[in-house]
């Protein structure tokens, strides 16, 4: 989803004010510190921690990773210029012009310990003084969007992937030549488009040039010989890549970092690429020329990952199916391990994957306990994408470059993760419509009405996608990502407007478990067991389960056969709901003929989506969060078995190339030792063998346990394990909870 804006300078507290416009964060670091890579990584990490604290001071809270953004100096000011009556910024010309103007003044950042220059500090979007252009209303869609809790994606930026090879081969100078060449070929109606693209490149070059000056100043100040030498290399690399394509690994990493930073600044884009294959030619050339060794390479890559924890894929099949694992894949994992900060690497698991790399990935996940790498399942993703009518070669190139999503770098526009239907709202609409209609309610009637409303929700969403595609260029065009796409520059068309080859538009369903468990609960308690009537249930829902009887009914519904428990009514309903959603999404393209791809994902929005839904028959209270992504709701089984979860989630996959990810929380007691690595490895592989698409694993850390100790009720399915014995954390006596907390934190 779109990131919250970085703080503007006005928000920055006075105690963080700096006399210098340029940041030179490690210059004041311990002057005794040497220049070894280990020491430098430690310095960089400490700087990052300090910057994160500063940002927290400015923002007050931070509920997501920071994407490498740092707070700007307090005296930083930028005012966007507008060509509109309302003073807002929209469309090619204004966006390009303001981009260029911003990077004429955006602060520079040079850390002598870092191999790479630059940090991004602000979102250009936060200066535009407007949202979706009011002259482009979509009132014809709004009623249904609200009725079904649809997140329409209208106005959503980025959320597709760039092909970095385009930029690495041409360099900024080459890209500028390309823009000018095609500008000359097109008529005056493309002037705004090409002017914006030129402005982007000129803005970036200006920013790099200003960094070269800043590095030169830092060199003059630097007394530590190793860091001074580093600054000289940093300067030389940047002097070269202002115009020319990178030649070395250092130059390539710096080039990628510049693109990442400006693309983040423009509209929050965080999509990476197949990082090992992208960097391999530079690494191999540097090694062959004895310019660097592996330690140098690890440090350079660590600095790239520090600059921005971009979503990168490593390993997995190449276009012809052969495994892409290389020495660099291992070095990337090592770099992330040494830097030990948030990181978004995904390993694509397929039959030919190097088993050593897979083992190392699982080891890093369990030992480092920072939630990376994630693992994606090639079988589901490749075979699924092919069902849209694409060849295997193309499907394999659709790689993990977003939080739960895949895209073909530079060739596909998707707005992945930006379009969602709140299926709990759809259920609610169907339920109350049935209760207010004449005749006797039944599960089959409820299902028929749910189908009807879900179809309407899908159709409304599809029309919204067409509306977005028709107008996004007038709002906030993709002038940065266009540069690294095949087509937009050649055609003079924005990526959102027909510039790229493929349009596979995302529609994610949300609240799968909420809906499946609700259907299961009414079927079990009302129709099978006859221990509840529709009218009583409706009364309880209206009263939000008020009173002792209400609470008893709520608990009874909650203890019905849940999705995830295995062979249950809830499992059957989840499958039925997912098949329906998939069928409705795939029934037809959008009215304008764009392909739609279904997935299940919600967890960035579970809380706001839940707020608009009243009490539901699965025992959920009004306003409580809806279920997470494709996950079963917590408490789905007494043992909370990850195998049960992995089986259930593999079964409900829509299988068209987008994901229904499995989010697994593991306690550290399960994650220790080589045997645990084998077991988790088996769990991951088997989930993908069964048809799973993506697995994210969190190892619960000491902080989580402390929080659970303070409020055990908020962690009902947290299981603690001692060898040979498990127990619910919340069921244990306070004393024993303390014991577990102490033990795990101690370890």
């Amino acid at each position: 989803m779109t990131d919250p804006p970085c703080p503007t300078s006005a928000q920055r507290p006075s105690h963080l004010q700096s006399a210098q416009a340029d940041f030179v964060p490690s210059a004041a670091a311990a002057s005794t510190a040497g220049g070894s890579y280990a020491q430098r990584i430690e310095m960089l990490r400490q700087t990052k921690l300090r910057q994160t604290r500063e940002k927290l001071d400015v923002r007050g809270f931070m509920d997501m990773d920071d994407h490498g953004c740092i707070a700007p100096p307090s005296d930083f000011r930028f005012e966007a210029v507008s060509d509109r009556d309302d003073g807002g910024v929209a469309g090619f010309r204004a966006c390009g012009l303001n981009f260029r103007r911003l990077f004429e003044v955006h602060p520079t950042y040079v850390d002598p310990a870092d191999a790479l220059a630059g940090r991004w500090m602000v979102h250009l979007g936060s200066y535009r003084r407007m949202g979706w252009p009011p002259e482009l209303p979509y009132t014809h869609l709004e009623a249904e969007q609200e009725l079904y809790g649809i997140i329409s994606g209208i106005g959503a930026g980025q959320h597709f992937g760039p092909d970095f090879r385009i930029g690495l081969q041409l360099g900024w100078g080459g890209l500028l030549d390309k823009v000018r060449r095609f500008r000359a070929l097109h008529g005056p109606d493309k002037e705004d488009f090409y002017q914006a693209e030129e402005d982007v490149i000129l803005g970036i070059q200006t920013w790099i040039r200003r960094h070269v000056d800043a590095i030169r100043e830092a060199e003059a100040r630097e007394t530590r010989p190793e860091l001074r030498a580093n600054l000289a290399e940093m300067r030389a690399a940047n002097e070269w890549i202002i115009e020319n394509p990178p030649r070395t690994l250092r130059e390539a990493c710096q080039w990628i970092a510049w693109f990442n930073m400006v693309s983040r600044t423009y509209n929050g884009d965080g999509a990476g690429d197949q990082l090992d294959e992208l960097l391999r030619p530079y690494y191999e050339r540097d090694i062959a020329d004895e310019r660097i060794d592996d330690e140098d390479a690890i440090f350079l890559i660590a600095c790239l990952l520090l600059n921005d924890p971009q979503y990168y894929q490593i390993a997995g099949p190449g276009p012809d199916g052969h495994d892409q694992t290389s020495r660099l894949s291992f070095l990337i994992l090592e770099a992330a391990h040494r830097m030990a900060i948030p990181c978004n690497l995904t390993i694509r698991v397929h039959d030919g994957l190097d088993p050593e790399l897979f083992r190392l990935g699982v080891r890093r996940l369990l030992e480092d306990r920072k939630g990376w790498p994630r693992f994606s399942g090639d079988k589901c993703l490749t075979e699924g994408f092919m069902r849209n009518g694409y060849p295997a070669e193309l499907a394999r190139q659709r790689i993990a470059v977003g939080c739960h999503w895949m895209a073909i770098p530079g060739r596909e526009y998707t707005i992945n993760d930006c379009v969602k239907i709140n299926c709990a709202r759809v259920f609610e609409v169907a339920f109350w419509e049935m209760m207010e209609a004449p005749g006797s309610p039944s599960v089959s009637d409820l299902w028929r009405r749910f189908q009807h409303h879900l179809r309407r929700a899908v159709e409304c969403t599809a029309r919204g996608i067409d509306f977005h595609l028709a107008h996004q260029k007038e709002n906030w065009p993709e002038i940065v990502l266009n540069l690294l796409c095949h087509g937009p520059i050649e055609r003079g068309l924005d990526a959102s407007d027909g510039g790229v080859e493929f349009y596979n538009m995302c529609i994610d369903g949300s609240a799968l478990a909420t809906v499946a468990d609700s259907f299961a609960a009414v079927e079990q308690r009302i129709e099978r067991e006859k221990v509840l009537t529709w009218e009583t249930l409706a009364g309880r829902l209206r009263a939000d389960w008020e009173g002792v009887e209400g609470e008893r009914t709520r608990l009874m519904m909650k203890r019905s056969e849940r999705y995830g428990s295995g062979g249950s009514l809830g499992d059957a309903w989840a499958l039925r709901v997912s098949e329906l959603f998939t069928r409705l999404v795939k029934e037809r393209p959008t009215p304008e003929g764009r392909n739609l791809i279904p997935g299940w994902f919600s967890w960035s929005s579970t809380i706001p989506m839940g707020k608009v839904v009243g009490a539901t028959p699965n025992g959920r209270k009004a306003g409580a969060p809806i279920s997470h992504g494709a996950n079963p709701d917590p408490g789905f089984r007494k043992d909370g078995a990850p195998t049960a979860m992995a089986t259930a989630i593999a079964a409900i996959q829509p299988r068209y190339g987008n994901t229904a990810p499995m989010q697994l929380e593991l306690d550290p007691g399960l994650a220790r030792g080589e045997e645990a690595q084998e077991q988790i490895g088996t769990l991951i592989r088997t989930h993908f063998d069964l048809g799973g698409s993506l697995m994210n694993v969190n190892i619960l850390d000491a902080e989580t346990l402390r929080a659970a100790h303070r409020d055990p009720a908020a962690y009902p399915d947290l299981v603690v394990r001692v060898t040979g014995f498990t127990a619910y954390f919340a069921s244990l006596s306070p004393e024993f909870r303390q014991l577990v907390v102490d033990r795990i934190i101690e370890e």
Binding site: V548, G566, D639, A641, R672, T682, T686, V722, S733, F736
Partner: protein, 307 residues
């Protein structure tokens, strides 16, 4: 056709990763022939199904009192009251309690029913995983356990048992024969100490270790290290000595006592002799591991080979 063989099952736990190799499903049977005073699974001791009462979860709906024909449950101004002496162990109250305040422990299941649940995770057993039958003591339900293990094995799935070996060999030999892997407990080396701690001597245990060696089944031995009972280097060294002749022993595992069961004793209307007992320290466990290693056996502490 006779009646299908049934067993009383406490719990079936999927993704069990500390009860044998790989990813496993562990079937916990109800009923144990020993009464170890430190036991942290008191709900598996009795052979018959029984009621756990967790008062803190009660919402005061009174459904239990309505369901109970013997008047064991009452709802008073102070809240729910349960008189265990009046309970006829019919289990109706637990079926009516959705707050999990009343939990019925122990369910009669056929081999096929357990098998169906245990085979749900079959795709995850590929890397050496499988099904473990644990207790209580599985040999207390020897016929059921043997039939269950045989049925699992017939599906090509790896089988394991967790046992205290405190039974006449003839009674459990059929169970051992169907297990690909045996995890057994040795609480202490001396007969009298064993009797004082568990209610029974250890002659069967010692004899069965020798019989087990003859079968050649891969096995691990485990000792729960209980302060004041078996926690000196001499105690552990003597156990390790007993294990030296067991050629198929993969390793000897020391498990530090943890006071996990106290709430469960109260829920069953029982009291725990281990109340207030503390876990041995990591340093102490390390010292005991060294004492065992001095006898040439491979040792782990709570799964950790390096401790």
């Amino acid at each position: 056709m006779g009646e299908p063989v049934t067993g009383v099952v406490t719990d079936i736990q999927r993704f069990s990763v500390h009860d044998g190799p790989g990813i496993r499903t562990t079937v916990f049977l109800k009923g144990c022939n020993l009464r170890c005073w430190w036991c942290h699974n008191p709900e598996t001791l009795g052979a018959a199904p029984e009621l756990q009462v967790w008062p803190a979860r009660c919402i005061g709906c009174g459904a239990c009192a309505e369901a109970c024909e013997s008047g064991a449950h009452r709802l008073t101004a102070e809240g729910h009251v349960f008189e265990r002496g009046l309970c006829r162990t019919c289990g109706r109250c637990a079926s009516a309690c959705f707050a999990d305040s009343l939990v019925w422990v122990g369910r009669s299941m056929t081999v096929d029913e357990v098998l169906a649940e245990a085979m749900r995770d079959a795709p995850f057993y590929s890397d050496g995983g499988g099904v473990t039958v644990s207790g209580g003591e599985p040999v207390c339900q020897a016929e059921f356990t043997r039939a269950l293990l045989a049925a699992i094995r017939a599906r090509g799935v790896h089988t394991a048992i967790e046992t205290n070996l405190a039974w006449p060999w003839e009674r459990g030999a059929g169970v051992i024969a169907e297990a690909d892997f045996v995890m057994f407990d040795v609480k202490c080396a001396g007969d009298e100490t064993h009797r004082s701690g568990t209610g029974a001597g250890n002659a069967h245990v010692l004899a069965n270790i020798r019989r087990l060696a003859e079968t050649g089944a891969p096995c691990i031995a485990r000792t729960p290290v209980v302060p004041g009972f078996n926690d000196t280097p001499d105690d552990i060294g003597r156990i390790a000595e007993l294990l030296t002749s067991l050629g198929s022993l993969l390793y000897y595992e020391l498990l530090p006592f943890h006071p996990l069961g106290e709430g469960k004793y109260a829920a069953l209307g029982m009291s725990s002799r281990a109340e207030g007992l503390r876990s041995p320290t990591r340093e102490h466990m390390r010292m005991l591991a060294t004492a065992a290693r001095d006898h040439g056996v491979t040792v782990r502490v709570a799964g950790d080979p390096d401790a």
